[in-house]
Symmetry: C2
Subunit: 301 residues, 2 copies
């Protein structure tokens, strides 16, 4: 959890492979899958849900396998390319997503999906940033996003840096906010998108999707193509990381529940495609996503 | 917020009137509305949403007006009667509500509605307690209930005292919990119920009601007759207390958002009657509440 945000996790893993290659060279070893096996396994096992991790690992390992005699320095170029491509993808997503946003829009976002979660600019927050630059954003509400409070700690900081008018809310207030007509878009990122458009994202996202549909608020998912896992049919196959109970029973090191209290702490939830109005990638937008539209997006690459 | 929980607020206000009467007697004054006017106003202005406060104040002031020469000691009897009647009402609600609960039920509750929020036993938690005593409860999930964490701090404590199998969740996990089929009842209290059954309760309640309806989970509101405000037509007329932003931007004295961050902190939300499957009072149960059924409940008193 030192690195979080699906794209940032992928980029950090790529640089992690570079560090492993440098360590191998210092040991006098060549850069091969075998010689890096321990580090590669540790990186792959670091988080289960964000598919960007596995995508970046596949790409770095493919590079190692494709070119015998690969050096750490050459791998660094590949990691930097992944990083640069992510920033470019974020900019493209920002443009595609912002085109959907009407002037005067009021947006609710969840967790952190900005420069702190990606190579730069952001996914969902990148769309908000781009729409703000076009003068289309009236206000942004940020869910605090318990238990890790990424919304309170990170998203509010990014919004305030950009001087975007912003208000923090507890998750429990989102439904009232929608009912009062103060939101017309919910915009979130993704940790993994299945072939049918089902989307895993930070716990609490699915709740917002149900609430948005109930209130006639539109729901946008913003993620790079590397977040789409075409190998899995639907969201039921996405592994959901369950983290320690203490993250719920305490906050900032302070116990907030009685000693011995049990807690359930899933880090992610799955929003079914039918609750999503638009999936925005660097390759374009899929509205009302389904399996065939998602397949067309892939083929269009 | 030292006293919280609508019934407990009403009871505390009644004892507050007694303390005001004792102070008047110490000043050598008789117990009249005029001589107690400052304290009566302070008590009435302490919280806007929970109608039990105004109900208890009306009853105590009515007693003072009805019987000239009333003493503080006599008012103490009235306050104790309010307290005793609340406990008796809780027991009756517990029985009525528990009768609706099937054996093996898994229940999600929000905020704290137990002995710590009432004269004793509880409203929503009273139903859970009574259903547990009948062997009908398999598991109880408690929403932590940001920003004040009444669920984490108080409800978990009460559930653990009763040895009821319990699990704490963040609000954002409630939708996933329902989708996984782990909940068949959401049971909550109320701070004010309008004549048509619209119900104000702790922020986050309305979100649970929308989610419950989406997932086919039933939704029960448990509150004494003193919580029903027949003077207002519907929930739009219930005043909603908005509390300081710092309750959202900090936790246990620690800042969790950047300095200067804005926050929206409504303490309550309104759940429309059409999302409620049952309102349980000490006088009986109203299923699928509407204006005429709520009126019948009143007349049946």
């Amino acid at each position: 959890m030192v690195v979080r945000g699906a794209p940032a996790i992928g980029i950090a893993a790529a640089y992690g492979v570079v560090l492993a290659a440098m360590a191998a060279e210092r040991r006098g070893q060549s850069v091969t899958i075998e010689n890096l096996s321990e580090e590669l396994r540790a990186l792959r096992e670091s988080r289960p849900t964000a598919v960007n991790l596995f995508w970046a690992m596949d790409r770095m390992e493919g590079k190692i396998q494709a070119e015998p005699g690969m050096t750490a320095q050459q791998l660094l170029m590949e990691a930097k390319a992944i990083h640069d491509e992510d920033i470019a993808a974020n900019r493209a997503m920002g443009q595609h997503g912002a085109a959907l946003i009407e002037p005067g829009s009021r947006i609710l976002t969840h967790c952190n999906t900005g420069a702190l979660a990606t190579g730069g600019h952001g996914t969902a927050l990148g769309v908000i940033r781009s729409a703000w630059a076009l003068g289309r954003v009236a206000h942004v509400y940020a869910d605090e996003t318990r238990p890790w409070l990424q919304g309170a700690r990170l998203t509010m900081w990014e919004l305030m840096q950009e001087r975007i008018p912003s208000t923090l809310i507890c998750e429990g207030a989102a439904a009232s906010l929608m009912r009062s007509g103060k939101v017309n878009w919910v915009i979130v990122g993704a940790d993994r998108i299945a072939a049918n458009g089902d989307t895993a994202n930070k716990i609490g996202t699915y709740s917002l999707a149900v609430l948005a549909r109930h209130h006639g608020v539109r729901f946008m998912v913003v993620a790079p193509m590397s977040t789409i896992d075409y190998s899995i049919d639907d969201g039921t196959q996405i592994p959901i990381e369950t983290r320690p109970e203490v993250e719920v029973t305490s906050l900032a090191g302070r116990e907030i529940a009685p000693p011995g209290a049990s807690a359930w702490n899933p880090s992610f939830d799955v929003t079914p495609a039918e609750l999503i109005d638009a999936i925005v990638t660097e390759k374009g937008v899929v509205t009302r996503p389904n399996r065939s539209k998602m397949a067309s997006l892939c083929e269009g690459q």
